[in-house]
Assembly symmetry: C2
Homo-oligomer: 300 residues x 2
C-alpha cells in the first residue's frame, strides 16, 4: 500500500519509507495520533495539539526540510467537548508559532471511537537527507539527550523535566537545516520510536550494520539517579532528537555547527559493513512496547 505510484507529471525524489516523501522539491509527512495509542492522560489536549505539530516538524527536520504549512484532520466523539477542542487548538497554534508553520486547513468529523488526529505537513527540501545514505565507517551521532521523554511516559512518578520532554518535544530544526545545507550528514532520521527501533531502520535503509556504545549515550541529569537508564535511552521513544551519520573527518565541522546552533551532539557509535545492529557489551533492551505501555507508531 505504501509503494509510490509515480506518474509522469510528478517528480518523486523520495518515496515512502523515509521520514517524509519529497515531491518536486517539497517534503511531505503524514502522522496519525490516536487517543489511547499515541497519547494517554499524561498529555492534556493542549499538549496533544502542540505535540502533533512538533512531531511533524521533527520528521521534516530529519529530511533537511523547512516546515511551511500544515493541515489537520480531527475526529471527535459527539457531543463535541468544545473545551477539549479549543485547548487542542491552543497547543497547535503555539507550536505553529514556535516553528513558523502556517496552519492552512483542516477537517473535523465525528468519531464513534477514540479521538483521532492526523497531521500532514510540508515544506521546501532543496537537499533531502534520507535514511539510506550512510557508509560503513561513518560515525553515528545524536542530538540532545535520550530517554527523558520515555521517563515521562513510563515512570510511575516522573520528574517534571521528563513530563515536559514528553509533552513539549523541541526538535532541533535550525541545526537540522544547517546540517543538510552543509551536506555534512550522509543519513539522518528522527528518534521517534527510540534507538532500538529507529537505528535498525536506518541501518536497513543504508544496507549496513551498526554498533552503539551504551556508555556514550547522552543522559539528562534528571535520569542520573536511575540505576540503569539504558533501557529508557534506547528502548523508549518520543525524544524527537536527530540521529545522523557523518564521515569521521566531519567531526570538527559537526561540532562547530552544533555549537553555533546551541545543540548538544554526541557520537554514540558507528556504522559497520552489512551485519547486525548491536549495543556493545549488552543485548538491545526490549523496545517501548514491552514496558507494558501502548505501542507508538506502526502496527507490528
Amino acid at each position: 500500500m505504501l509503494r509510490a505510484i509515480p506518474e509522469p507529471p510528478v517528480s518523486v525524489q523520495v518515496g515512502p519509507g523515509d521520514d517524509a516523501a519529497v515531491v518536486q522539491g517539497q517534503a511531505i509527512t503524514v502522522d496519525a495520533l490516536v487517543e489511547g495509542v499515541h497519547w494517554n492522560d499524561r498529555l492534556g489536549p493542549e499538549d496533544v495539539g502542540y505535540k502533533s505539530v512538533a512531531v511533524s516538524v521533527s520528521d521534516l527536520a530529519a529530511m533537511g526540510a523547512r516546515p511551511a504549512w500544515v493541515v489537520l484532520a480531527l475526529s471527535v466523539p459527539a457531543p463535541v467537548d468544545l473545551a477539549w477542542v479549543e485547548a487542542l487548538a491552543t497547543g497547535v497554534g503555539s507550536a505553529c508559532r514556535s516553528f513558523a508553520v502556517a496552519l492552512v486547513g483542516g477537517d473535523v468529523t465525528r468519531s464513534p471511537g477514540p479521538r483521532y488526529l492526523s497531521v500532514t505537513m510540508g515544506g521546501p527540501c532543496p537537499r533531502p537527507v534520507t535514511r539510506s545514505g550512510a557508509h560503513a565507517g561513518d560515525w553515528l551521532w545524536v542530538t540532545g539527550t535520550l530517554g527523558l521523554a520515555g521517563a515521562g511516559y513510563l515512570l510511575d512518578a516522573p520528574p517534571p523535566e521528563a513530563l515536559e520532554a514528553l509533552r513539549r518535544p523541541r526538535p532541533p530544526l535550525p541545526f537540522a537545516l544547517a546540517l543538510a545545507d552543509a551536506g555534512l550528514a550522509s543519513a539522518m532520521m528522527d528518534l521517534s520510536d527510540g534507538l532500538a527501533t529507529d537505528l535498525p531502520r536506518l541501518c536497513a535503509a543504508s544496507g549496513l550494520g551498526g554498533q552503539v556504545d551504551p556508555r556514550s549515550l547522552p543522559l539528562h541529569p534528571t535520569l542520573g539517579r536511575i540505576e540503569d537508564p539504558v533501557p529508557l535511552q534506547v528502548g523508549a521513544g518520543d525524544d524527537y532528537e536527530l540521529m545522523f551519520t557523518a564521515p569521521p573527518q566531519a567531526e570538527e565541522q559537526v561540532r562547530a555547527l552544533a555549537e553555533k546552533n546551541g545543540v548538544a551532539v554526541t557520537a554514540i557509535g558507528s556504522l559497520t559493513s552489512p551485519g547486525p545492529v548491536e549495543l556493545i557489551g549488552r543485548p538491545w533492551p526490549p523496545s517501548f512496547s514491552h514496558f507494558g505501555a501502548s505501542t507508538p507508531g506502526e502496527v507490528r
Copy 2:
C-alpha cells in the same frame, strides 16, 4: 482552530474554509473518513480506497487545481486484517492511476476503535477558484446529475447504477481545470454534502442569497421512477459533481467547454442579493443526516 496562522515565509493565498487551501501556488486538501460515519457496508474496502482518493481529487478540482501527490494515514484495529488493507490499497492504486496522482507516503497505526483513514492531497493551482467570488445575478450551474449516489446510500434496494455512483465517484477533473483556466467560473465548490448543505456555504462565502428551481435539477434516468426525487437531489450528498457560478453572458462558453470535455452541465438557478437561499416553490428538504443515516462531513 481552523484559522490560518500565516507566517512571513509562507504565502497563503486561500486559507481554511474552502475546498482546499492554496499555499504558494499549491492547493492542499485534507479529508478524514471514519468507518460507520463516512462509509457503511455498502462500500467494500476497495471502494473505500478508491473513494478516499476520488473525494480529494474532487476538492482540488473544485479549486481549479490539478492533483499531483497524495499521502494517507490509516488506523486499523489489531490484529490487522491484511486482506482488508490490501483491498483498500488496490482501490487507492486504481484511483491514483485514474487521476494521475502519485501516492508518496503514508502512516499506518493501530486503532482501538473503528477503521480511520485520512487523505491529504496537493497539486498546482495557478488560478484558484474559491467559494467567495460569486456575484448577484450569476447563474448557478452543476455538472452531471444529482441524487444518484444518495439513492445508493439511502434506498433499501438501490439500482446498480446508484451503488456504482456511491462507490466510484468520478469528479469531472478535466472540465474543472478547463473552467478555471478559462476564468469562466466566479465561484466553485464540489457537491459532497448535497446542495441543501453546500449551496448555503457558497452563498455565505460570497455574501449572497440564492434561488434554485427544483424542476431544473438534472435527474439520472434511474431516479425517474421515484415519485419525488428532489429530497435525494438536494438533501443527499456524495455526488462529487461541481457546483459553480458564472455570469449569464458566459453561458455559451460554459456549454462549449462542457461539451468539449464530455460533461453535462445544467443551470439550476442564480445568485441573488444578500438574502435567503431558497428552493423555488418548496422548502429545502431535510439534509442527509435526517434520513436516519450517518452524517457525512463536519461535526454539527
